[in-house]
Each structure stands twice: as C-alpha cells, then as structure tokens.
Symmetry: D3
Subunit: 187 residues, 6 copies
C-alpha cells in the first residue's frame, strides 16, 4: 500500500485530545479516518482552522443543499486535478445526492451532467471563481438570481470554490492518497 502522504503523518496517540476526538468521531460514523485528517494533523493549529472553516461552509444553511455544496467541491477539484478531493467528495456527493452517477459526471464535464439548470449556473459561477476570480463582476452574480440564489448563496458558492481551491493545492503538494473506501461509497 503506498503511503498516505509524502509527509509523515502522526499516530493517533501523538495527537492533541480535541483532534483525536474529531478523528474518532468520524471513524465511528464512517468506519475509517479520511487520510486528509491525518495529514493535516501534523499541524494541529492548521487542522483546527481548516475544519472550522470547512464546517462553516459545508453545513445545511441558506439556499444551497448539502449535495449542491459537494457538487461545487467535485467540479472545482476535478478542474484543479486534485485526486484526494475528487475521490473523497465524489463519494460524499453520491451519498448526499442519493445518485450513484452524478459525481463521475460532474468530475469529467459538469456541462454534460444530469444536473438542473440551477446547478449548472451554480457551477459556472464556481468555476469562474476558481479560475478567473479577478474577472468576477456584478453580471456573474446577477446570473445566479433567476435560479433562486441570493447574495448569501453567491458568497457561499464563491467561498466553497475558494476554500477547496486551497484544499486542492494542499492535497496535491502533500500528495495525500484517498482512502480506498471512498471509491465505492454510494455507488
């Protein structure tokens, strides 16, 4: 089995209590600890900030469903060629959307995926944030509104694309390996 990351990862008993607790919680729920938890745990303060940010963005709140949030992650992570994020969040997307096909479709070419026009508009915006944020302007945000997205939703889409843009870069540089379990979850 190839290593979890090009960086050494700590063992559970080396970790601060709060971080070990979070890992044990996810392990109980999913049956395994996602490798990115172990990689980020080398730096406890970064681990805590990363997951605090993650939780602030990815929960149910406002206009975006949890499945839509994962859709943004999968589309932008695929464009950033981040293996960990596409495989792990692809699994979560399949589960949240209760759809075994959507994650692979969105990863390869979201324009051809079985998604709604609303979701396509959401991903068009997310991709512009991911690759041309310097050119995002009012018309981009206005284009979201006929689809039922408000200003807060625009912020959410942008922030998720931006946060996972960070995450994609970290996972790529650390060469974090997706857990084998993710590949078949929700299929």
């Amino acid at each position: 089995m190839p290593p979890i990351s090009r960086f050494d990862v700590p063992t559970l008993d080396e970790l601060p209590d709060d971080i070990r607790a979070r890992m044990q919680h996810v392990q109980e729920k999913s049956g395994f600890i996602p490798n990115i938890f172990l990689v980020l745990a080398r730096r406890p303060d970064e681990f805590r900030a990363f997951f605090a940010y993650h939780d602030a963005l990815m929960g149910e709140r406002g206009g975006l469903s949890k499945a839509e949030r994962e859709m943004i992650v999968v589309a932008t992570s695929a464009a950033n060629q981040c293996q960990y994020c596409v495989v792990a969040h692809g699994a979560i997307l399949r589960i949240r959307a209760k759809d075994p096909l959507v994650a692979d479709q969105v990863a390869v070419n979201y324009r051809k995926a079985d998604i709604t026009p609303r979701q396509k508009a959401m991903l068009d915006f997310a991709m512009k944030v991911a690759f041309e944020a310097h050119a995002v302007d009012e018309p981009d945000i206005e284009r979201l509104k006929p689809h039922g997205f408000d200003e807060e939703d625009a912020w959410d889409i942008a922030a998720i694309a931006a946060f996972f843009g960070m995450s994609n870069r970290i996972a790529n540089v650390t060469n974090t390996r997706p857990n084998d379990e993710f590949y078949t979850m929700g299929r």
Copy 2:
C-alpha cells in the same frame, strides 16, 4: 432517462447488416450496446472506419498491454473532458488492469496514480501528443526507450492519443451519454 445523444440514433432494424451484427456481438459479450455504437451508426461509413481504426490500435500487439492502451484513453479523455470516453474506458481499464481504483486515479491526475514509472512516461508522452503535438520531438521519443518502449510503441501511444482525441471531440459534440452500466463495471 436523458436521451443517448443530441442527435437521433437509428433503431437496430434500420441498420446495415454488418453494423447490426457488430452491435449484437458486443451486446452478447457485455450485456448492453455501448451508446457510442448507436450514435456513430447514423453514419454507417463513419461507423465502419471508426471501428476499423479502433481495432487496429487497441488490440494486444507489440509492447503495450491492453490495460496500458486503455490507460492512455482514460488520461487523455479526462484532459479533454469527454464524459463518455472517461466513463466507458474507465470501466474497460478497471477490467483490463484488474484494478478497481486505477481508472479514477488516472482520470483525475495520472501523476498521482498507482502506476509504474513506465506507465507514467507513457502517459507523459500521450498527453504531449494530445495537447502539444506540434512540439513533439526526438527527445520525447528517446525518453520512452529506457522504459522498454520501442519505435512501434511510440507510434501506438501517439496514435491512440490522436484517435481518442478525435473520439472525444465527436462524443462531446454529439453529447453521447455513457451507459449506466459502465459506472460500476470492474469496481
């Protein structure tokens, strides 16, 4: 169920005998007719030429295994954002390589996939053919040789990348939908 393609596709009984026979053959072997067969069959001469070319390139012969040939298809098709080819040939790659993970890995970022250095060199060359063929030069071919690829193998890699570059463009323009069966084959 969304349609197979943005173009109408013929029914089996509208088809010339040789084309219907090929479809029935694949249906017996796999249990279904891959949608690209139906889409290309609108143009029988193009269908015949396409599959003649396909068969000339994708069989076992010379230095590349069948799995390696499919790996080239998956890596270049993902970079070309071709949903049909990534999903369908991803399935074939899993089966040929007897590896349930490799197709998703190669599709997202072949540089991080569980493949051999030989296969990585093969994909580096295939990607250069797919995106910068105008700059391919002798050193690119020389870099293949320490990995056991000879001149004929270089031709094969290039021709597969080029042929599926055509295929990717046709599948994207015709908006050909991958059969649902492909998503889970070989996992």
Copy 3:
C-alpha cells in the same frame, strides 16, 4: 532532401495490393504520391481505416462544398501547427475554391480571410470543436443554422475538425514532410 518522415516508410512493392493500388491511382491523378500515404502505409490496417474515414467525410454531400471542407482542414490544422496538413490541404483548397489566396489567408487568421459570413461561422464552430469541444453546446449549433447549415452539416463540420485533429497529431509526431509539389499547386 530531408526524409519523408522520422519513421521509415515502405517501398511500393512491399505494400499490400489494395494500398499500392490506391497510391498508384493518386499518383496518376496528381503526378506524385502524397507523403502521408507512404507514412501511414507502414501500418496497413490504420492506412485503410484512415482513408475510409477520410473519404466518408470529405466528399461532396449535404450542405458543405468540397472547398468548405478543405477550409475547415486548413484552419484547424494551422491552429494545430501541422505543417503537412496546412501545406497539402492548402493546395487542395486553392484548387477546390479556384482561389490562389484563400489558403494562406485561412491558415494565418481565418477571421481576416476573404470568405463569406457563412464560412466564418463554419470555421468558428470548427475551431471550437478543435479546441474546446467539451464546451460545445446547443447555441453553437443554432448559430450555424441562419447560414444554411443543418444538423447533418453540423456533424460534418465537427467530424472533419475532429478527424483532422487526429491527422494533425499523427503528422506532427511522425514528422511527415509535405511533398514539394504542394507548395505551388493552385497558385
């Protein structure tokens, strides 16, 4: 004289009869054997599939004239920096269009060429197929229709751009040299 290709090419008497016959036919008509015939003939099955595909796409049929088909070849091959295809099909375009200037114009910048708005729309679509097929969508095809192109013509334009995209990559990797005769034909 530099070699015809970086790969060795067969002599006429080494070739299967059908391939030699096709070469002799073109030699009688044009006075010489285009080098790409000799290069592809190293692989008889690929030769046959290539020319079967070529013939299925490039004849007079449906809405595109033969000159328009060659225009697509020249514009996309120039963008792919394929010397063989630009020089050889530039010659054919000059002859088919009975216009000594159009090939050079289309090769350098088709937007500034002496072509009709219909032909410009055709080339806009062909270039999108060649470089962004993943983003081709219904509006792209709708934009063709006011110019008299129907659905079959859209398929033709896309298929020609896709097929010569393959051809450009093969000619570039094999470093196939255009015959000197092409440079002055039709001027």
Copy 4:
C-alpha cells in the same frame, strides 16, 4: 469614497465581542481597521477560521522569515490579480523587509526583483503551487533544499500560497477595497 465591498459590512457594535476585540487590537496597532476584517466579519465563523489559519501560517517559526512569508503573499496575489492583497500585503512586506522597493518589484515580476536566489527559489515553488499544484512533485521540493529550506518550510510555502489563493478569490469576489493607508505605508 467607493464602498468597502460589494457586500454590506457590519458596524463594530453589531459584531461578536471576540471579533470586535480583534479589530480594536489591530486598530490600536496600525491606526485603522483593514477592510478585509470588516468584510469577513459578516460571517463570524468564517472570520474566526480565516484568522486562525492566517495566524498559524504567518508568524515567525521555522525557516521562513516574516518578510519572506509576505513575499509569497505579494507574488501569488499579484499573479491572481487581487488588488486588496497586493496593496495590503505589499505594505506589510515593505515594513517587514525594511525595503521600500521590494513589494512593487515582487508584484510586477519577482524574477527581476532585488531578492536573493533563495527567495527566488521560494517564489518559483510558491507560484507552481498557486498555478500548477497538480504537477508539483519531489524535484520541486528538492530544489528548495540547497537554499536552506527543509520539509517544514516547503509545507509553509505551499500552505501560504494555497491560503492566500483562497483569500485572493474571496477578496476579488467580494470586491474588497484596500484601505488608502496601505498605499504609502513603509515607502
């Protein structure tokens, strides 16, 4: 005076105590509240996570000086065309580096800036993380080591480039205006 952001920003007394306290602290130190604080404060949880992450990455620790950390921010933010980050962190870089010219130089073209070969290697790596993280590999990290960077420093450089890549996207989408004070600080 144009608004601070395209999003409304809260007033100080609307804010949770911990966030207001952090703002008052920076105001006492610098004489003004950087606009990004006010913009992010619309979302208290995101504010807290953002600054927790920021503080984890930007302090003195390990091999990178504070000036070097700011150099990474300025170079990558300029490439991402983020006005807020270039102007604000350009000011901080001038102060940390005690050099009135370096920020403008690094922003326009770090390859021509008055920086050390070590710093140029650091910025080469940071730019690769910012724009091609999918292709970062062992040789990229090895190239840092002759300049005195160790594995932890590589993580730091990558994480700073990644974190500010997120920050650049958020500042661009929110259209956050740099405070006028930043333009002349440290000149």
Copy 5:
C-alpha cells in the same frame, strides 16, 4: 546597487549630441535620467526611432487625455509583467491623473480600479489588443464609441498598447531596472 541593465550602458559623453541633449533635458525636468534612456542609447538609431514613436503617441491630442494614455501603459505593462514600465509609467500616471492610488490599482486589476466606465472600456480594448489582437473586430471598436471615443482614439489606444508591448519586451529582455525615484513620485 544592482546594474541598470544586463547590457552595458554608454556614458553620457559617449553619446551622439542629440541623444545626450534629450537626456539632459529630461534630467533637468525630472532630476534624473530614466534608465531606459541609457539602455536604448546603446543603439542610437533605435533610441531615436523609439522616442519619435513614443512622442507621436503619448502627447495630448484627440480624445485621450495624457492620464488615460498612461493608464493604458500601466495596465498592459503589468499584464506583460514589465517591471520597468509599471514602475516608471505608474509614477507618470499618478502625476498626470493627480491621483496617488490609481496606478497601483490599475497595475494589479484595472477591473477593480477607481476609474470611469469610459476608462474601463478603453482598458478592455487595450488589453484585447495586447493579448488577442488577432481577434479584434468591428464590435470591439463599436463598444468604444458610446464612451466618446472615435476612430482616431481607437487607433491611439491600439497603437499605445502595441508600442508598449514592444517596450515591455525590450525592457524585460534587457532587464532594465526602474530608477528608485519612480517608486515614490506622485504618491
């Protein structure tokens, strides 16, 4: 102090009289000789042609103010990553526009700068000339006219973007260092 350029520069007394006179004139007016004068003076004929062209384009005449002309220089030079031109013309822009902030704003992202819609349209056109002149067409020029630009102004904008595109390349290859004085002028 790093050298003025990677090429040796002549001393004042080695120069032809007309060139030395121009330098002394600018020195009297500004207090220093801009380094690009010294670098170009290695080639007296090129120096003369360069400044004749510069003077033909940058004076007050027609619809563009001197500040607007400098704005074009700063925006396109920043996109071309030319340190000399951004720093030197940034200073001139601050002075011509009597605005200490505008140059840094335009250099990082002119879409977010405190400029008028007219100036934004001007810079959109200038950037298209700088990066996609092959695709400039009538609609690009028509888009300028509601902002009060006529055909001659379109020529001016294009010619300034083109001329400084040349200048940016020369300054980058010669590695011409901006004089320290420019950094603080007009702030």
Copy 6:
C-alpha cells in the same frame, strides 16, 4: 477587391513629400506599394518612426543575415496570427533565403522547417521574447552563444521579435490586407 484596411488610407498626393518619396522608391523597386505603407501614412509621424525603427533593425549588420531577420518576423507573426506580416514577410523571406519553401514551413511550425540548428535556436529565443519576455533570463541568452550569436545578436533577435509584435498588433487592428503580389513572390 476588399479595402486595404478598415481605416481610410490617404492618396499619394495627400502625403508629405518624404513619405511619398519613400513610397515611390519602394514602388520602383518592387512594382507596387505595400499596403502597410498606405495605412501607416495616415499618421505621418508614426510612419516615420515606424520605418526608422524598421530600418535600424532589419539591415545587414552583425551576426544575423537578412534572411534570418525575416525568419524571425515570419515565425513570430504567424504565432501572433498576423495575416499581413506573414504574407508580406513570407515573400521577402523566400527572396532573401532564395528558398521557395521555407516561409510556409516557418509560418506553420518552425520546429519542423528545413532550417539549421542555429536558426532553430534563434527562433526558440524569438518566440520566448514574443510570448514570455517576462521570463527571459541569462540561460536563454547563453543558449544562443554556441550557435555563434553574441550579445548584440541577442539584442537584435529580441528587438525584431518585439518590434514586429507591435507591427502585428497594428496590422491586425487596422485589418491591413496584404497586397496580392506578395503571395507568389519568390515561389
């Protein structure tokens, strides 16, 4: 016959004497007035500066032959998709190089042209100046030297690429049509 340019061009008798004289001189030598002369003559001062710069760069002097100078023009102008410059300077290159094929070869893909390794190194450098001048550094110039180019030749190559980069942009925006005579000169 389509117009010479999208801008009106002056008649010969409207022109200042020196400009008319230059045109008559070229007409006597070549049999026609190149259209770019007429287009630039709308702006006499720019005309004079343009040709003064042109003459300073394109004559025989130093290490580059006149044919090599034209080769730089053709390669970079083709990459900039400038129809006027490729057609006009393609003609001059055929004549200067006494080679009817080289211009078309260099225009489509100089890497595959019948040129010397020295000329290929020259064009590699010229293309880097044309498209990535911000990244040109000492190793680029050192790579020229084993081919017999000295520092002055490096300046010449860079300046020619930069000057015609300007010229390409002006010809594209003015939509200057190459004279029909150029297409067949030197074939």
